[in-house]
Structures are given as C-alpha cells and as structure tokens.
Symmetry: C2
Subunit: 483 residues, 2 copies
C-alpha cells in the first residue's frame, strides 16, 4: 500500500473523544460514538481516551478532565463539545500536536448565520496552518473497520472493498446497514458534513490510490469546487467504478440541503452531464445506489447484451416480469426450439418453456437442469431466477427450522453460482415481494453475494441495475475498461 | 347480505377434490390444494371428499374412487385431473348435480392449440347449459376465509374487507401474502385463469353488491369482452375503490400473457383511459397495487392537499425525502414561525425544524410532542415519520428481546394513531431501507394498519401512494364520493 497523507487519519495510533457525555446522558447524542468504538474493539488495539471533566471513568476506560491531560500521542480527536466550546478545543488540539480532528459538533455555517460561518472559517484556517486536517463539522466522521473506527453500532467489523463517502451521516448509515445485510463489506466510510477542510474530492483522490478500495460510492449535497470535484471523480472513475447520489436536485430538496450542510445544490442536468463525462454512475435514489454497488460487485457487471430469461413460478409472474424488463429497454427473447425441447423434459405440462420459463417443476433437481439449459442459451445474457429454499414447517424446534432453512439457502445460492460459472451467463436472484423473507433469507443474501450472484428484491430493480451497467459501459467509451 | 348467485359458489356445503395426488406424490402439484383446505379447517365445518381410485384414505379423510361415489350433496368440485380426463369428469359433474367446478387443470386454450381450445369450449357449453358455473381452467380457484376455502397454505384464516380477483394464481398469492403481512385481510380471493365462464366482470359485479367487500383489487391479463368489463368496473368503482393491475402492456409481456392465459393484451393507453373513465385506479406494478390497497384502507385515503412534513433522523435523509416527494408533484412546505418556535423547545440545537424536521431528540417523549406540533400545522396534509421502537440489546434471552420490541412497536404505532386522531393530519410511517426489519417490525405493521396508519417501505412509495389517491379523486369528479 502506498503511503498517502490521509492514511494517517484512517489509521490513528490513539484517539481522544472530547466531550463524551456524562454517564447520566448515556444513550443521548454523542454517546453513540463511544459505544461504536467499543463495538469495533478499537480500545483493544490502541488507546482510547474519553475526555470529560465531570468523570474519572467511563465504560471501564479512564476519563480525562481535558485533552491536554491525556497521554501522548493523540493522533485523532473526535469533538463532541458544543459549538461554543469548539474554538477553545482548537487551541488544545494545536498544543497537543494532534494530526486530525473530526467535529461531530454542529451549529456553524449550516445554520445560515454569517457569524457562525466566520467562527468555522477561523477554526479551519488555524488548524490548516498547523497542518491539522479536519473532518466536518456537523458530521459523523470515520468508519474504518480495519482500524477499529466506526460511528454507528452494528457496522461490520471485517473490512471489504467498498468506500462510502457521504455528506450525511444518517445516509452513510443507510448505505452501510442496507448493503452489509446484502453481504457487502467496506474499506472506509466517511461522513464529512460541512466539509470545511477535507471534502468529497479529497476522498475520491484518495480512493483512486487506495489498494483496499475497489468500488467508490458517495452521497453528495453540494459541490464546493466544481472543477476539483470533477477532476477527482474523473481520476477515480478512470480506474474504479464510482457511484454517486446527489441530494437536493428538486427545489424543495435544495432548500433542505441548504439548511442541512449549507450546500448550494446544482441542477440535475449539470450533475448528470458531469457524471457522464467523468465516467461515473449517477444513482437516482438511495435504492439505486445500493443496487448498483451490488451490480459492480457481482456478475451483473459483465452483462453486455439485452437478453433476459425470466425463470420463476407462475405465468402471471412472467408477464409482469416481462413488462418490467421491457420498461428498462431490455428484452425477454424466445428461446430456440432446441432449448425449449430440452426444457420440456422437466417442465410440468401446460407450463411455459419459451421464456418466461415457468419453473413449476416436479422434482427439485429439475430446477437446476432447467436453469442450466436457460444459461446455455445463446440469446440469454442474464437469467432472473426466484430463489427457492423451502420453508420447512411442522413441529421442529425454531432453531432447527432456522438451521435447515439456512442450509437450504446456502445450497440454493451455491447452485446459482455453479450454473453461472458453468454457463458464463449471469444468474440474478430475484426475491418475490411477499413480505418478510422466511427463514434462510439472510443466509441466502450473504452466500449469493459471496459467490458473485446478485440478489434484488424485485424484477424492476434487477432490470434497472443491468440497464444502468450497460448505459455506463456505453458512456465510458474511450475510457479504460474496468470490467 | 343480499343473496347473489355467486354466493353459493363462495359458500359450498361440501367440496370434492377430484384427482388428489396419491400419497407418493405428496408435495407435488395439486397436493397443495388439499393442505390449503386443511389449513383453513374447511373439513371441520363441511364435508371434504378427496377422490382418487388408488387410495381409500388421505390425511385422515376418506378417499373415494370416483366423484359419483361421494355422498350427496357435493356443491363444488375442484378438478386436479389431467386435461385429457377433464371431459369425462364433466359428465360426472352433470350427473352429480354439482353447482360449480373449479378447473385447476391446465392445457386448454392457453396452449394456443385450436383442438384443445375446442375441447375447452365444448366443456363449458355443456356445463353452462346445465347451470353449472366454471372457474378456470388453468387457475388456482377460490380463497374464502369465511368459508374455509383457500388455494395456498398460510393465507389468513380471518376474513377482511378486500376482494382479490386475479387471472394468475401466483400473482394472487403475491398480493395476499404481501398484504397479509401488512395487516390486510380479505373477503374473497379468486384466481380465474382462462376464464371460460366466470370472468373478471362477473366478480366485479358481485363485488359491487357484496357487503363484505369494501375494496376490490384485480390482476388482469386479457379483457375478453371490453364493453362488459368496462361496465362492471364502472358499476363497482362507483361505490368502492377498485385497483387494477394490467399485465402484458409491453410487447414482450403481451407475448407472455398469450402463452399464459391465451389473452390478447391491449395497449396501455386504452386500458388507462378505461380506468379513468370508470373511476378505477390503475396500478403500474405489483408494488403499487399493494401500496394502493394500504392507502385506501388507511388515513392516506383522506389526504387532499400536497403539504408533506418529513420527520426523521438526519439532514441527508430529509434532503433525499424532499427530492422523492417533489418527484411526485407534492410539496415539503416550510412550517410557520410559530410551529418552528414550538419545535425548537425539543429539538437538539443545530438540527432542522423548518421541514424537513430532524427528529434527533434528547428524550423519547419529545418525539411525540414534535409530531403533534407538525400534525397541527396548517400547511401539512400528511406527516412522514420514521417509526422508532428501539432495538433492545444486551444479554436478554431472544424471546424477551422480541417481546419487548413487539411491545415498543405497538406503542409506537399507537402513538402515531393517537396524534393522527388528535390533529386530523394523516400520519404515514416510512421505514428506513436498512435491510431486514429488526424485532418488532411485524407487530408495528399490524398494529399501525389496524389503527388506520399507513406504513410504506420508502418515502418514494409513500409519496406515490398519496399522489395516486389525489389523482384518482380528481379524475372521479362527477362520480359519487367514496371517501
């Protein structure tokens, strides 16, 4: 790994948590930072110093009266102090030779008050002059599983290949929690809020070089320096898939963005054109961001043609699936006579074999044969398959029911991965919108993703992901191939 | 309840299941019908006669060699025999004075084979001449919880106010399973497949008169008699909300519909115009069908204006929510200075109170006060609120964690219902797309629905439901008010 100045911020030797709430306020704002760090076991690897003059101990850790009382060195400070106390903390940070400060603290330029914006500007000027980098203010800061840093409880502890850059902490949380459940793991997560020093483009430039990051996704409200933003996105998107979601594209959304991060939101047309020129993908909403991250980390990224096979139970399901696929400009081509002949061997008489293929079969093994025949078809680029992993009923104890369902789910995922590898056709699992996933649902998601099989909650979302990947490849003509 | 000829079909005194698979084929096609009926406990109320010459007993019930050997009377026959055996069964049905036959049996006109279509036509002609009504062929038949009839395992046993009419059994299953989990219950469900005798319009006409049905939703592939279909929809939509989903609106979907139910699908424009003229809602996809059923059974049906309050944690969430709401032509208006003043009492400094409202609060009780203040605002027609019911952690046993979460979820739903009633503003719960609902999620769905509070899985879907209800009300001008 090349040494990059930001690596130091992502891998601090010691962290001070200044303004940690007193025990009485446990559960209140700010408390989550301490428990998030404990959840990641940061304190088992490096010193973690809570600072609050009213306590001497918190959650088993020594609590210090001030930052200046903590042992040396402290590389990274997380500021939970109120805005009014922030300037005094800045002085201590300079005295302590801290390398980076993350201001969870809000109440500066995003309030729209010019006096507070000036306080913010003066703080960053002082810190920058001393070489101290700033994350925030008005931000949740860093998630670096490898280093044991996190800003919410329950983020995965094991690292992965996706970097999340976000102007909003809660949105970063939505991305990380949603995708984690679908098997994705993360190299770094950054909530940078007002971005008075480190901004989205710093993180894109870093991501381009970071060996641990293979995919970059970002939630952006305001672009503070259009030229540098564009150059950084382009630099990064030349070598890694970059998926951007822009908030504030409507006028009401833009007003909300102003009061959230003080951002001046631009038009959808300008942002869209920028993404296209830079070779990045623009997600239209949060769901699409999630779905595109899944796409670039599974076989969906390789889909080049428009031929989709619909393989699922029920003729009506096939009809609606075809409509949804057509809406995305993709096709549900008829299968060749030879393929249909092969499928007829396993199909229940009266069910369709010409695509959509009705997989109402007599024996479970027939399902695999049908999927394989479909995967081998020359007109098919991706097969949408309803995963089945039975829902054992009866009087078994709940734990046993869940154990069996999990095992069946893993086998079902393994089957799709096997056929995908054998046939070279992307297998895409599409779950039915019947409400909560039954037992085994979570295991299926994890195992399928691990094996490179995408799982989407509807045909519409699966088709959309494929269409977006195809658009993106087309718009990148002239840029280096990533996949 | 007025006596309607179809009431007899929905409430048979005795049912024969002809062609029930032998024990060796348990789990195979057809077996589900027996277990569905057992699941509904039909046999505890009325005789249920399995018929199969190879068995004398099945699942504890006497099995008869032929329909003619069953005791009298048999009102309703469910045919699981192969297509080739169907004409012989028709003769027995006539001899036995059965009132209605449901052909699960497929392999007739939907195959595209003119000879098979002729067999189908001859069968229906004979049965109709004798006054026997036919459901199907190629269909899953009837779900009447009150009578103990069902065609899939796990359908709710208690009746409700929604009638589901579907040309596809699997799609009817998707509707019933999805909505049941969200609290909806059903008066009748009908999968009518090829519809050679009883068709969608018969069921719409019935639904218009049926006291137990307050809402009608249908999945349609082909409209066999446009005039009668239109008149029936109009008749029904004059007095009850009717939500229609049309499959086969794309050319690939239309091809799939032809091979599924032999239907000739029409254009989206024609169908849309028909819905508007008749005063029905056209759902664009299965999700929207689900969401509109929720809308017409909760306070969403009363929303008249465009003013939406976004009440949730995180500024970025509010920005994206505003964008999604604007996309549906709705507004996120600024709150009056007085309302903002009131909200500032509870809000954490630095968070937004002007709408979107950031409900990052210090004490749980503050949440209720904030929602109430928003609900009282004159510019707000509906408030989108993230339900919170804590996720208790720690070392408690799993059952205890779930019990507490369920209790908290019920209280959270009750809170929204209380504020909704007090303020007259629709409260709409929007869950965050963070993956699986935690413990309490199911209880929240059920309790909120029971109290007239809609729950949607995203802001986009909540906004869409409100926009559709408003469109529908506008297009009904001149028709009687339903809400």
């Amino acid at each position: 790994m090349t040494e990059h100045p930001l690596d130091l911020i992502f891998h601090p030797r010691a962290v001070a948590l200044v303004g940690v709430p007193s025990n009485g306020a446990a559960g209140g704002p700010g408390w989550g930072f301490l428990t998030s760090l404990l959840d990641q076991k940061f304190q088992e690897r490096h010193p973690l110093y809570p600072v609050n003059p009213k306590m001497t101990e918190v959650e088993g850790l020594t609590c210090y009266p001030s930052l200046l009382d903590t042992p040396d060195p402290v590389d990274h400070v997380i500021s939970l102090v109120p805005a009014s106390a922030a300037p005094a903390l800045v002085e201590q940070v300079l005295q302590k030779h801290v390398r980076s400060v993350h201001f969870y603290t809000a109440g500066f330029s995003e309030t729209g008050d010019p006096a507070l914006a000036q306080v913010e500007a003066a703080m960053v000027a002082k810190l920058r002059a001393a070489g101290v980098r700033v994350i925030g203010p008005n931000s949740l800061g860093l998630y670096v599983p490898e280093a044991g840093l996190a800003f919410m409880n329950g983020f995965p502890r094991e690292p992965g290949n996706v970097m999340v850059v976000s102007q909003s902490g809660a949105n970063a949380g939505d991305v990380i929690f949603n995708l984690a459940r679908r098997g994705v793991r993360f190299s770094k997560g950054i909530s940078f809020g007002n971005g008075i020093d480190l901004r989205s483009y710093d993180f894109f430039n870093y991501a381009a070089e970071d060996d641990q990051t293979e995919v970059v996704t970002a939630y952006i409200e305001g672009v503070q320096d259009g030229r540098r933003f564009f150059e950084a996105v382009k630099h990064c998107a030349a070598v890694k898939p970059v998926i951007l979601l822009k908030g504030g594209l409507s006028s009401v959304g833009a007003r909300a963005a102003r009061s959230h991060t003080g951002s001046l939101a631009g038009s959808i047309q300008v942002f869209d054109a920028m993404c296209r020129q830079a070779g990045a993908m623009r997600a239209e909403n949060m769901e699409e961001l999630h779905d595109l991250v899944i796409a670039v980390n599974t076989s969906v990224r390789h889909v080049r043609g428009t031929g989709i096979a619909v393989v699922g139970i029920g003729g009506g399901y096939g009809v609606l699936a075809s409509d949804a696929i057509a809406l995305e400009g993709l096709d549900v081509p008829e299968l060749s006579e030879a393929t249909q002949e092969e499928l007829r061997e396993f199909a229940v008489p009266g069910t369709s074999v010409n695509n959509p293929v009705d997989t109402f079969v007599r024996a479970p093994a027939d399902l695999e044969r049908m999927i394989r025949a479909v995967g081998r078809s020359e007109v098919i680029d991706a097969a949408f398959v309803n995963p089945t992993f039975g829902q054992p009923t009866g009087t078994l104890p709940r734990e046993e029911v869940e154990r069996r369902a999990a095992e069946a789910a893993r086998q079902s995922a393994e089957l799709l991965a096997r056929v995908q590898e054998e046939t070279g056709t992307a297998m895409v699992a599409v779950t039915r919108d019947r409400g909560a996933p039954g037992p085994g649902g979570e295991e299926f998601l994890l195992e399928a993703y691990r094996r490179g099989v995408a799982v989407y909650p509807s045909v519409a979302r699966a088709a959309r992901a494929i269409a977006r990947i195809r658009d993106w490849r087309a718009q990148r003509e002239g840029l280096p191939d990533i996949f």
